[in-house]
């Protein structure tokens, strides 16, 4: 038969074969679209509570990393700006309610706190990038924002102290608390930022961070209801 001859000559005479001569056999069946298996990659169908909780858990995880600052890359790898925004708004709200009369001899306004924190962070980030740093813009903002957390905790403590006591004792307690948290903030942020700079410029990058947290600490310490 011609098919035997063609089998002995591979790839020969293919043009001579006409399609109806070749029997086609097989099974064609479409896979059933199983929506249950694809949920790992698509989060559109999950409940809203799960979505919010996932982000909150990530933010809380980073808070823990700030509390125990060791060389970890969680803040740098999965940066987000929710934490800094939360902390900034909390701190600015807590700094309101000082100075009973509303003339401008009082403490910082909400907008002033916001501007100082965000523009201060942006300027420090630009400074470290101009000096040749390797962190990206938003990673730096993330680190600086998260490290405000000890100072926010100090603000809460200060308000509690001001409700209970007043005078020299309360001032001494507030001074100790604010100084400790300012040192903690600076130490935590330099633990993340200093590694990204060449060693001969580390002092130039650390000093603006020190100044930034010093000014925030000053705002907290001078809060007087």
């Amino acid at each position: 038969m011609t098919s035997a001859e063609e089998a002995s000559r591979p790839f020969a005479g293919l043009s001579d074969v006409s399609i109806p001569d070749i029997p086609v056999e097989g099974d064609i069946s479409l896979p059933v679209a199983s929506s249950a298996r694809d949920d790992e990659f698509s989060t559109l169908d999950e409940p809203v509570k799960e979505t919010i909780l996932r982000d909150l858990r990530a933010v809380a995880n980073k808070f823990v990393h700030v509390l125990y600052p060791k060389r970890s890359s969680v803040l740098l790898r999965d940066w987000d700006l929710w934490g800094p925004l939360l902390l900034c708004v909390t701190l600015a709200l807590l700094l309101q309610g000082g100075a009973a009369d509303s003339n401008d001899q009082g403490g910082p306004q909400f907008a002033e706190v916001f501007v100082i924190i965000w523009f201060g962070s942006i300027i420090i980030t630009l400074n470290s990038k101009l000096l040749g740093g390797t962190l990206s813009f938003f990673q730096s903002l993330c680190v600086l924002g998260y490290c405000i957390m000890p100072l926010t905790v100090a603000m809460v403590v200060c308000r509690i102290v001001l409700y209970t006591a007043s005078g020299k004792v309360s001032f001494a307690v507030r001074l100790v608390v604010v100084t400790a948290s300012f040192g903690w903030s600076t130490f935590a942020s330099t633990a993340f930022l200093a590694d990204s700079q060449p060693s001969n410029r580390r002092g130039l990058v650390v000093y603006p961070v020190f100044l930034f947290y010093f000014v925030i600490g000053w705002m907290i310490l001078t809060f007087s209801p």
Binding site: Q109, E112, N127, N200, G203
Partner: protein, 301 residues
């Protein structure tokens, strides 16, 4: 084989052009015709030593780098931050201890002006003046039982406006004026804009510890501190700008230096009087934070 030789030949041409331009500057600045116009003998010695330094430094100035890229690129600003911690500390030390014969720009900047120092010194000065002013008000009113402590945070805004305007507008004006005067005489001695901003920024450093010491509530101490700070800061500026204006007519040279010192004094005295008021009951009657306004308030006193 022809192209490498051509390139070499072009390099020599450029170097020859530079070398022909370079002897022009030193010879103009030590022209003997200037010596008879100087009256004091020590001035002659000072100027000669400065010119020797200028001759030594001019070869280093040739190797100075131009900021890369246009001013809209990131690399341009990165080249303005090309300093190490040690260099910044060195420049700060030079601004605090001005020695005669050490031109700040030629000795410390060496054609590598940076913007890190002026910017962060201005920011620190803003906060130190505002915080120390607040503290001094608090200390002076401690015995007053009717006094309720106020943080006076609006002072930070005012201090920021005043100090940044001084640190940018005065160098712009001075640089434009010097370039205009130099332009008519085709000399190479004028400083670039960045160097002028840089020297003004570093000269403000002495006011940071001064403002912290101003919290001590003794008037005589405060005025002594102002005088000391003015002498140090002013001499940095005078030592830097005198060699450039000296070649001009006598009246213009003296006038320029006097204006520099006067503006500096206005800033120091204005800051002291506004931020370190010892009376709390007289709120500042909305003075606009421009130095001419402060000048009129000082004159009225």
């Amino acid at each position: 084989m022809a192209s490498p030789n051509d390139l070499q030949f072009q390099e020599f041409e450029e170097a020859a052009e530079l070398l022909s331009a370079d002897p022009g500057a030193p010879t103009l600045s030590i022209s003997p015709s200037n010596i008879p116009t100087l009256t004091a003998g020590e001035d002659v010695k000072l100027d000669l030593s400065e010119d020797e330094e200028a001759q030594e430094e001019s070869s280093e100035l040739l190797q100075g780098h131009k900021p890369g890229g246009g001013f809209w690129t990131f690399e341009y600003y990165q080249s303005l931050f090309n300093v190490d911690t040690v260099q910044v500390l060195d420049r700060v030390k030079g601004s605090v201890m001005p020695l005669p014969g050490r031109n700040f720009i030629k000795h410390y900047l060496r054609s590598n002006p940076d913007l890190y120092g002026p910017f962060w010194i201005c920011v620190t000065l803003v906060f130190s003046v505002a915080i120390s002013g607040n503290l001094s008000t608090f200390f002076s009113q401690m015995g007053n039982s009717s006094y309720h402590y106020r943080p006076q945070f609006h002072r930070v805004t005012i201090a920021a406006v005043v100090i940044f305007m001084y640190a940018w507008l005065v160098p712009i004006g001075l640089w434009a004026f010097l370039t205009w005067r130099q332009g008519t005489e085709r000399q190479m001695g004028a400083y670039s804009f960045l160097e002028t901003v840089c020297v003004y920024g570093y000269s403000l450093f002495i006011f940071i510890p001064t403002s912290i010491l101003w919290t001590i509530p003794f008037e005589w101490l405060q005025w002594t501190l102002i005088v000391v700070a003015m002498v140090i800061s002013g001499s940095v500026l005078v030592l830097t700008f005198w060699p450039v204006v000296r070649d001009d007519t006598r009246a213009m040279a003296v006038g320029t230096v006097v204006t520099i010192i006067l503006l500096h004094m206005l800033l120091a005295v204005g800051c002291k009087l506004y931020f370190f008021q010892t009376t709390v009951n007289t709120p500042p009657s909305a003075p606009t934070p421009t130095t001419p306004e402060l000048l009129t308030t000082v004159k009225l006193h």
